[in-house]
Symmetry: D2
Subunit: 340 residues, 4 copies
């Protein structure tokens, strides 16, 4: 049993903890945070299913006042673990790395950190082998993680030469008030970092892209214009996507009218928090133009990186040294592909 700790119990950290708890070959030692946020209050109301460690002494009195049981400090958590999943705010992970290094522990950082924090920039499907045995891994961000799933899927089957993406990005998560956009579409300077990141993970592909922020909270949508080494037809693309365990192929005729449909469906499925680990792919969005294939995918930003982070633990801790075996274990424990 690989012993895993989660540092930062926010939107991503909570889901990482839940994901680790589902892996039968990992043990969740505990989670760490700095303040009695709503997430921590919910943890207490649920009866503390996970042990809580304090990442700072600053708010200890508040925890005591609220009678939230604390099992120790972040340092103590780190000492008990083989690997830490760091889901703190951007920049904090780089600082925490010193602590992980001090005790010679492994760590997986999330997409907000700089690439230089880690030995390898990691994606379970695309470059599992590069993560094997490494001490520090950084996961791709939510958009890049989902995008690479789809591109890697076609690339392994047919060979991809070039992609041009348009990211229609949700600006906030449900319950966020500190960031937001009201009645505006905001554009970033091109190329988007997701296209650049894709090329870092998949250097044999030429990628560019434009990102547009939109005032919604349920899922990014990305359109992908991909050029294969040979012509990829709609049928060929669909066949590949349907085989993939982390891609859910849907259609507007089935009632999946947009990003919010996935959220609603996951709630109706009874998934905790209404989360979905898969990206969505609309079969009726796939179109051909000359030698290009174009399609749209849905990225559930809060939960999409959980499977690839489990993969990262497997690679870093050498639990499986074969790519398909590693991602297969993750898929089994997370119940992915069961819908087919």
């Amino acid at each position: 049993m690989v012993k895993v700790g989660v540092c930062g119990y926010g939107v991503i950290g909570q889901r990482l903890a839940d994901g680790v708890a589902l892996q039968k070959d990992m043990e969740l030692v505990g989670v760490a945070d700095v303040a009695p946020t709503l997430a921590i209050r919910a943890l207490k109301e649920k009866g503390m299913p996970y042990a809580l460690y304090l990442a700072s002494e600053e708010n200890r009195a508040k925890f005591e006042q609220l009678k939230i049981p604390v099992s120790g400090t972040l340092e103590e958590l780190v000492r008990k673990c083989d690997i830490i999943l760091d889901a703190t705010s951007a920049g904090v992970g780089a600082k925490n790395k010193e602590l992980y290094a001090k005790y010679n522990k492994k760590a997986v950082f999330q997409g907000g950190e700089k690439n230089s924090v880690a030995d390898v920039f990691f994606h379970g499907y695309a470059n599992y082998e590069k993560g094997i045995g490494k001490q520090f891994l950084k996961l791709t961000s939510c958009n890049t993680t989902g995008l690479i799933r789809a591109v890697d899927c076609l690339d392994r089957d047919y060979g991809i030469k070039k992609v041009a993406i348009t990211i229609v990005r949700r600006v906030a998560d449900p319950g966020d008030y500190h960031r937001g956009l009201t009645n505006a579409l905001q554009i970033d300077k091109a190329p988007s970092h997701q296209a650049v990141d894709l090329m870092t993970i998949m250097p044999h592909i030429d990628a560019t892209g434009i990102l547009i922020h939109t005032p919604v909270t349920h899922g990014h949508i990305i359109t992908v214009v991909a050029t294969g080494h040979k012509k990829i037809t709609k049928e060929m693309a669909l066949e590949s996507f349907l085989k993939h365990d982390r891609i859910r192929v849907v259609s507007t005729d089935d009632g999946f009218l947009g990003n919010a449909s996935f959220f609603r469906y996951a709630r109706d499925l009874g998934n905790p928090r209404g989360d979905m680990y898969e990206i969505g792919l609309w079969s009726d969005s796939i179109v051909e133009s000359g030698d290009e294939i174009m399609f749209a995918i849905n990225i559930p930003q809060e939960s999409v990186t959980i499977p690839e982070t489990m993969d990262a633990v497997r690679a870093a801790c050498e639990m499986q040294t074969d790519r398909l075996e590693g991602i297969g274990k993750t898929n089994t424990y997370l119940g992915m592909g069961k819908w087919k």
Copy 2:
């Protein structure tokens, strides 16, 4: 065991079915719907925890094609039940009533139907007694249900003479595309029907109100200006609210910054679908002005009526003929008030 069926497996119907399934003294016979919606597809993906009946023959072929098991027709479901919870679209319930009457079954209609569909316009806390033994009950709508909880709470403790409400209404549920509002606040002619409905249920109170639609999906917020028969102080109001099992008292200092916080918290709690049965009440919104008390409540529109509908079953089927006993059973089985 009272045998209960649910007709209409949409936003409300799904939650009614889940609610009934939690009542240890009720048996959920099955649910009925007309088409293989996302909700029905999710039911199938979950392995059909509830038996499904067809409310119309129109789409039978589609159900067969999708291999969704069907247990019979709506008529067959009705015959097996003691009482039907009708959560169909507005107007359909009135038509279904003929079927319920034909088999001499009881039924509870939701707020979208006209009052004339039922023998009594019902609210578990405010007029439980009026529903006892009745055949047809209509529940108050989501806003009215939550509003009456708060007003009834103060009324029973101190006596309320008059209320003036402002309803800041969410226009759509997560996953809705057929209705919506974009960058606008829309106003209805006053008085709002919720104020009128409150007076129907609580005829000793003078009520008026204005409703404003806002482009959000997570919870209505209502401000209430209430005048007591005697002066009600902030402390008196708070004391009453804190005792109530269907009112969750929170504060902005705790992190409940708005309607979306309740949704996020319920997701973090692991509540199915991220639902919450309680209304929220901000302790730091309570203010006095002369002899009036003013405060703000949050109404989780998708789930707030579930407890009062369970109360309605209890009253109609004479499971409990005492108000406190009836609502107490509902609260116990739904786990309400446990957070305190």
Copy 3:
């Protein structure tokens, strides 16, 4: 002086009337509508700068009650005009066509009508020649009009072989309540009609695209992935765009952060209604990938079709039989390109 009438005084009709009034070689005979909408009430409050004709007798009493002066019926307006700009709701134009035909008048229909309503599907820049002398023209829709401006611009300079577009569409205009989307991105089946329409106007180009509706009101954004017959660099594209009188090249560094910036800028310019006739093009969105060029444009949906509709009048009425002369006159009278 060509005599022009406008039928339908809504979002587009009002702007067409204003646009005609600016053309020194056209005379605006009047506008027609069916009901005393806010637009008509504003016309009255402004002192009736345009003569108003009734397109139906249904609401005549209301006009009289509100003391809104009426100059006659739609039929009378048609008889006085050489050409009618029909900006009625989709489908009404096809019916009105009978009236225009009866008096042998010319007409320009807007994008909502079916192509079959007209002799030619028209875009001022791309196929001016096809409209010359024709009786019935249909203009491209707002997105297609703006998109073709940009594609035609590159096509004339360098030759375009293929485009793949992503339309990030605003769902409603400011002040709309009857349509809207709340916290959702909605996707249409691909290919989008705009890609198909582009191929109708520019049959030598292979086009496809995906459309995503977003809950905003100020301007669509379209990303275009274009492949030239020869490689088009960022510098080459920029040089072309900068010369165009209906394309405003901006950058995020200048403060144009998204679609709402154009609206705010046009308001600050003192443009009537805060309108802008130009499409916006972000210079810092232009990127190359292999032999493709990618960029983003902004489409001010309420006003973008006005210049091309003026072009249509010029072509249909043979006011100018040379493309550059025709569009040049429109640009002069609308003050386009003055910002450079």
Copy 4:
């Protein structure tokens, strides 16, 4: 001719400059700002109708590079003026005050500054007399300005004892990206500052209120529950409101369905920027409950304070020492009440 300068050429400053330019007994000397924002770029594109002064040397090179003519420094502007309208960001006004004091000039600050910056907290209709001859005035914020118009209107006619308000606040202006809210209603601790401010201006009234932020950009809506010294009927209230030159009485039947209708109507009227100086008041929102009257008003946040700021200049500079004369002049020059 009173010489007026405007410091801060943003959302409010631009409108103040336009407002001053319409006052035939005032001279707009110029406007000052610190950076070549979109507003300044628009000023240049319009041909510099107002002289521009630099409020800081920091960006002088940028102005030169963009060929934006600069007439001097803020200090030079101050020296040329009798009074400065300070519309800088909150906090900057307090710093600028030293400069105004150094040259013994008068100044009017906007609602974002602290009350202590000024000798008097001012509202043209409610306490004109208090501003007469004062050196430093601070205007009420947009919500408070509009609210007091309506409350003062009833108070002068019938006497008001108490008000309880609910502010449904827009969170951003069109074109804002730096603040915003996405799919959430956010609540502030009660009482809202607007209720407190109302009591500062009208100390004989007892006021309280709750404020809820909503993700829209066109106008706040406030519901007011008011108690008179004697019973005020709907007819009495309507009669008062209809007489007021800064209150536009509308109804949903006329097509004013919400806050965005006012914006659309003002655009259709041809008002610069689509602005409206009046608050809106829905006649079909007025309802009675016992001895209380309740109604809803619309606050066009970008432009509503312009008339009262013109009043402030008149009072401070003793242009008119009679309240009705002062506000009457403002109304005449701004064309208010003309719609009746």
